[in-house]
Symmetry: C2
Subunit: 368 residues, 2 copies
């Protein structure tokens, strides 16, 4: 299609919603008026149609293949983002008498605790707030409740640029729950370790508007009667995410991203690509003689979000303006911490990371 | 673009998600890889970007212009569909000690009552279930609670093909609440009569994945503390629907539909177009010598969903198969009532209604 070559595309380092693979966008564009000969757009297609049934089934199949899920795992496509999961999770899996454990490694982990506290007991099992969330805790720093309804952690902390190299180990019998919104399917996943993982799609998996939940089927037995229908994991699982109208188009685009991830070699290959991209930027930091100063401690560095500061706010402003002028977009750090943040999710091409690293060297030489 | 003319488009009578205006789809397609020179797709754009701020602001402005909203009305773009509103509404607007009134005119109205009963008192103020929901109640049939937290009704009943010609009158001081999911902005709206209206976008307003709520600002004072953040009207209003990542793309497409509605002359013109389309199909029923039998009583007929039966299931099956063969899609009645249902929402062109009416005459002659 002619529009493809005409479109001016920039380097998108946005923290989410974030870059999508160009082949996915081109396919969405090509199919927009007539999906697979149905004579209609996916945007206007019944969620009960055979065509959409095929779309959501293929998305689930590709997710299952990527993450190695068997019949003991349930896949849900929900709405409301990770923020709604902060409420749904305790409502579904924490009994009225129970408490849940949370590891606090940043803004979103704190928000998860806050929501859980609204409806029952939640306990902070460890936090790195004292040092500005510049790392994730070591195993020995966690104080875990062996009776907890679950142990919740955030695998990647978008704002601070930290990531768990390996998941924490919960006490025996305590399901591990993970908010993977910012690194889902960005590296190999040992799903057997988890009771439930969830992720808003809009960073690594697709557009905003759909939230993926993968859970062990046996946990559905915990779901109490009387929850609001749309917030009930069990009802949603029984209806294969089609109790009510799902976010069809977001599921369709996410499905295309999942298929693309498989075509690109699955999670092992994604992990290698993502590590290589991040290495380019971290090398630009480490080789800068402290011109660039990484926020995260080296052992907790994220492959998804590289966060760093410059000498002062004026230098950061100049950096961001010059970067923007060269087509490097979305680099401004989160308003709560400032500085620079480069998000390098699955769909961010290596060329973008290389362009950023090159620009960082050039900017430093110009200013030095 | 060449693809536009190549795409085979059918007559889409689906009940929702439903047809979208072709000019809207063409614009979505043209902008898919590069929105307004930003170098990125709306599918991958930060919800905090200037470009998306412009998109959501324009969508709200166009909705305000269409519906005649002033500063005393709040507009929210939410997730979870009308089904989540069934829970959010009582959680936000019904005090623990209060009861809410519901008029039951179909499946979705019953579902609204069921969700409201999970968290407090709900009362059926009138129902037409005894006659298979073939009409909406007359004013004299309603028994209204003057102390109710609100009076809830469903303005159009998709499954049965009934619609309120005019909204019920609540007791003084009781806010009128309406689920307008299947006829929002399809005709002039006297917003001053309502306390709150809500609608899943996927029938008249846009794609699945976004739910519009319009409410009187003063009702926010009722919102209790401690609700889950994403389910809190007040928090969502304070954050202009951007507390967490909204369903950006669904909002963008809905905004294009709202702009299209304005270009087409607003709600008065939409009401005329929709009435004329429905008249074509009702005339085909009424002139068929009972070959086609409308489900709805004439005084309650919907301009959005025309429901009818044929002599028997075999005739209906033949009708649907022949219609499909002629490019008339989505005509199968809801699984709970069977028969035929033609949905004629805002974006369904007059040519589609005319094609259906023509086919109905032809099919009758062939079978007669």
């Amino acid at each position: 299609m002619t529009t493809t070559t005409l479109a001016k595309r920039i380097h998108n380092f946005g923290a989410g919603p974030a870059a999508l693979p160009l082949p996915v966008l081109e396919r969405v564009q090509a199919e927009l008026l007539d999906y697979a000969g149905t004579g209609m757009s996916v945007l206007e297609m019944s969620h009960r149609s055979a065509a959409f049934e095929g779309i959501i089934q293929k998305a689930e199949d590709d997710l299952r293949a990527l993450a190695g899920l068997g019949s003991d795992h349930v896949v849900l496509f929900l709405q409301g983002g990770a923020s709604l999961q902060f409420s749904m999770l305790p409502a579904n899996l924490r009994a009225a008498s129970a408490s849940a454990d949370y590891v606090v490694t940043g803004h979103w982990a704190k928000a998860a605790v806050k929501e859980a506290e609204k409806s029952g007991r939640a306990r902070v099992a460890g936090t790195t707030e004292a040092t500005g969330f510049d790392r994730v805790p070591a195993a020995g720093e966690l104080q875990l409740d062996p009776q907890a309804a679950y142990l919740h952690f955030t695998s990647n902390n978008t704002i601070y640029g930290t990531q768990w190299a390996t998941a924490p180990e919960p006490p025996k019998g305590v399901p591990l729950v993970c908010d993977m919104s910012s690194d889902a399917l960005s590296r190999p996943l040992d799903i057997a370790r988890y009771g439930l993982v969830y992720a808003g799609a809009q960073k690594n998996l697709g557009p905003a508007g759909v939230t993926l939940v993968v859970m062990r089927r046996e946990l559905l037995e915990r779901v109490p009667a009387g929850l609001p229908a749309v917030l009930d994991y069990k009802l949603m699982a029984e209806n294969r995410s089609l109790y009510n109208t799902p976010p069809c188009f977001a599921i369709y685009v996410t499905g295309l991203v999942l298929a693309w991830l498989r075509e690109q070699g699955g999670l092992a290959a994604a992990g290698e690509r993502n590590a290589a991209k991040a290495a380019l930027v971290y090398e630009a930091i480490d080789g800068s003689d402290a011109f660039y100063r990484g926020h995260a401690q080296p052992g907790s560095r994220s492959a998804m979000n590289v966060t760093f500061r410059l000498e002062d706010a004026a230098a950061e402003k100049a950096f961001l303006a010059d970067a923007q002028a060269e087509g490097l977009d979305g680099l401004k750090g989160h308003r709560s911490v400032g500085g620079v943040r480069a998000s390098l999710y699955n769909a961010c091409p290596r060329e973008s990371a290389a362009a950023l690293a090159g620009f960082m060297g050039e900017f430093r030489r110009r200013r030095g």
